[in-house]
């Protein structure tokens, strides 16, 4: 009996040391991959940041309105943000490669899935950035045109235009990375439809007079006499 227990313990010990002997090199390899990956990612981060600073990327982002949005969202400057994204993408790639070396069945295929996810994520980021740029351009164009055309509440009108473009870009980006696709699309359709219906009802009920005046102005029954306007030239 005692002999049996001793054999079992010895066998367990042998098995343990076999497993350790088998895993230890893999762990060391994983640790090396993660460490080297971190160094490469860090180096890439600084290289990307240096290139962006050299190419005045922040100035470009200021021009197209991305910097203002990042500032509002309390995010870092564009060059820092892009270099951080590069760092994390590269390092997570190395991290998953390292984990794959361990040979855990549950983690198998993560690298492949990550490799498939990265392009979609990049496209989603591009869509989001393009959406922010378009939203800012549309906001500014609407605001300035509304002010010069004496449209009441120009900031409300331009803000609504910006929100609409941003929501559309956000929905497209989420759809691209396939995050809760059904929920996102359904929520977007319901919210968009509700807003439009609400606006239509509000305008129809509360702004009937305004609508009539606008239509009368656009399509007058008798063309009005040209009123002489003050000339600036």
């Amino acid at each position: 009996m005692t002999q049996m227990v001793a054999d079992a313990v010895r066998q367990a010990g042998v098995n343990f040391w076999d497993t350790v002997a088998m895993l230890l090199p893999r762990i060391l390899i994983t640790a090396s991959i993660v460490a080297v990956g971190w160094i490469i990612a860090w180096a890439l981060k600084w290289a990307v940041r240096w290139i962006l600073i050299w190419s005045r990327f922040n100035h470009f982002c200021e021009r197209i309105g991305v910097s203002a949005v990042l500032k509002t969202a309390d995010l870092p400057a564009p060059d820092i943000l892009v270099s951080l994204i590069v760092f994390w993408l590269v390092w997570i790639g190395f991290l998953l490669s390292g984990v794959d070396v361990l040979g855990f069945t549950a983690l198998e295929g993560m690298v492949r899935a990550f490799a498939q996810f990265v392009p979609r994520l990049l496209v989603a980021i591009v869509i989001l950035v393009a959406g922010v740029v378009c939203a800012n351009f549309a906001w500014r164009a609407t605001l300035i045109a509304a002010v010069n055309a004496r449209v009441p509440s120009p900031r409300v009108v331009s803000g609504a235009v910006r929100a609409l473009v941003l929501i559309l870009a956000g929905a497209m980006a989420l759809d691209q990375i396939a995050v809760a696709r059904t929920i996102v699309l359904t929520a977007f359709a319901i919210a968009f439809g509700a807003v439009m219906l609400g606006l239509a009802i509000a305008f129809g009920v509360g702004g009937g007079g305004i609508a009539r005046r606008i239509l009368d102005h656009w399509f007058p029954e008798h063309p009005p006499q040209e009123r002489e306007e003050f000339r600036h030239l």
């Binding site: 200021e62 021009r63 500014r140 509304a146 120009p154 000339r231 600036h232």
Partner: protein, 422 residues
């Protein structure tokens, strides 16, 4: 040498038949039937009265009018107008009217006029605005005389201006062009002008044709080009300038955009010249302005402009933040705080304009957006000026406008330094 591709074979035949002319009067038209006859008669009267011995041609370049303008130009005579021609002309003033092809706009017409002047070796070229209703025969010698006498290469007009008359010129374009180019030119947006053949040929050979500066912005470009290229500018006193009703007048934002685009395009083009110019030199003035300036046409709604200024500055604050410095924005916000008594002083206005130019130059946003954002501030400044000077006498008004020009001259050096760094 004239680019003969600008001139059709038929036109060339007519020009060859005309031969050399001493004075070419160019009239670029587009649907000006209601006013062009009086302009042509004034030109004929001016040529007959003041240049009876000169060989002259009245040349109409039409941009495709559909209201019979070319026919009216061809048929216009002085006989039925009661225009008195003091000395009987010894030579016939030829008249040619022709359509031009290419890009629509005054620029293309002017290019054709320059080509004709070059081909016919005209000593003096006078360009008239066909929409002016107050033109008299005296405008012709005023514009052509200094050229014929060899005293100038470009003669700009000089009109008496009331406080409410053309504020876009008096409040913005005049002081800006004067400060930048360093010449005291009163009317950089020359509706009418006279120029020498040398200058016409220089304009004709300019690479600016086909660029963003042309074809709409030819007037201000000509004035700027003359100053930048070392030609001798001058200005002649004309009478009051009244314009007739045009069939479709563009809205103020469009006019403002076009004028400011023209000025900015010229500043880009002549960067190496104006950045080194110092204090403004006087441009010789010929003649004297007769009578006190009067106000014509619709009166401005000054109170409405001031109210709109307060609202617009508040609405545009996030856009203004990206264009103006903190100090200037604070000044503009304070100026707009009291709509009943807007105080937008000369120095603040000059700094505002130069900071907008820098934003335009740096491209901090779409250039169209930059200039459209300046429009409400221009209206605020105009309201402030009119509140103070709407009923001022000519001397006070002249002093106020001179003070504004000096404020622009003071604001230029720091702006020029930043422009160079940008």
């Amino acid at each position: 040498m004239a680019d003969e591709s600008l001139l059709s074979d038929d036109l060339l035949r007519q020009l060859v038949a005309t031969g050399h002319v001493d004075i070419l009067v160019g009239v670029p038209t587009l649907n000006n039937a209601s006013t062009v006859v009086d302009v042509v008669r004034a030109a004929q009267g001016g040529l007959g009265n003041y240049f009876p011995r000169a060989r002259a041609l009245i040349f109409n370049a039409d941009s495709g009018s559909d209201d019979g303008t070319p026919t009216l130009v061809r048929d216009a005579t002085t006989d039925d107008t009661g225009t008195v021609i003091a000395s009987r002309p010894l030579r016939t003033a030829h008249r040619i009217t022709t359509p031009y092809h290419g890009l629509p706009g005054k620029g293309s017409a002017m290019r054709m006029i320059f080509a004709v002047a070059d081909l016919l070796s005209a000593d003096a070229v006078v360009v008239l605005d066909p929409n002016v209703t107050s033109m008299t025969p005296e405008w012709i010698p005023a514009l052509a005389g200094p050229i014929r006498d060899g005293r100038a290469d470009l003669v700009a007009p000089w009109y008496p201006r009331a406080a409410t008359d053309a504020p876009l010129v008096t409040q913005l374009v005049r002081p800006l062009v004067r400060a930048a180019y360093g010449w005291t030119l009163y009317e950089p947006l020359m509706g009418e002008c006279g120029c020498s053949r040398t200058f016409a040929t220089h304009c004709l050979e300019s690479p600016a044709w086909g660029t963003a500066v042309m074809p709409e912005n030819v007037d201000v470009w000509m004035a700027a080009e003359a100053m930048a290229a070392g030609f001798r500018p001058a200005q002649s006193a004309l009478g009051v300038r009244l314009v007739g009703p045009s069939r479709k007048r563009p809205a103020l934002p469009d006019v403002f955009q076009q004028v400011m685009d023209a000025v900015c395009a010229c500043l880009d083009l002549h960067e190496s010249y104006w950045l080194t110019r110092g204090q403004a030199e006087p441009v010789p003035c010929f003649g004297t302005l007769s009578g006190a300036p009067e106000s014509f046409g619709a009166r401005p709604d000054v109170a409405g402009m001031a109210d709109a200024f307060a609202r617009d500055v508040a609405a545009l604050h996030p856009v203004l933040e990206t264009i103006l410095s903190a100090a200037t924005l604070a000044g503009v916000t304070a100026a707009a705080a009291l709509p009943s008594a807007v105080e937008y002083d000369d120095d603040l206005w000059a700094t505002t304009v130069f900071e907008f130019l820098l934003a335009y130059h740096r491209g901090v946003m779409s250039r169209e957006h930059v200039m459209q954002t300046l429009l409400p501030l221009y209206l605020g400044r105009t309201a402030a000026f009119l509140m103070r000077h709407a009923s001022s006498g000519p001397a006070t008004l002249d002093a106020a406008l001179e003070s504004l020009c000096l404020a622009f001259e003071r604001a230029k050096p720091p702006a020029a330094a930043l422009w160079k760094k940008a």
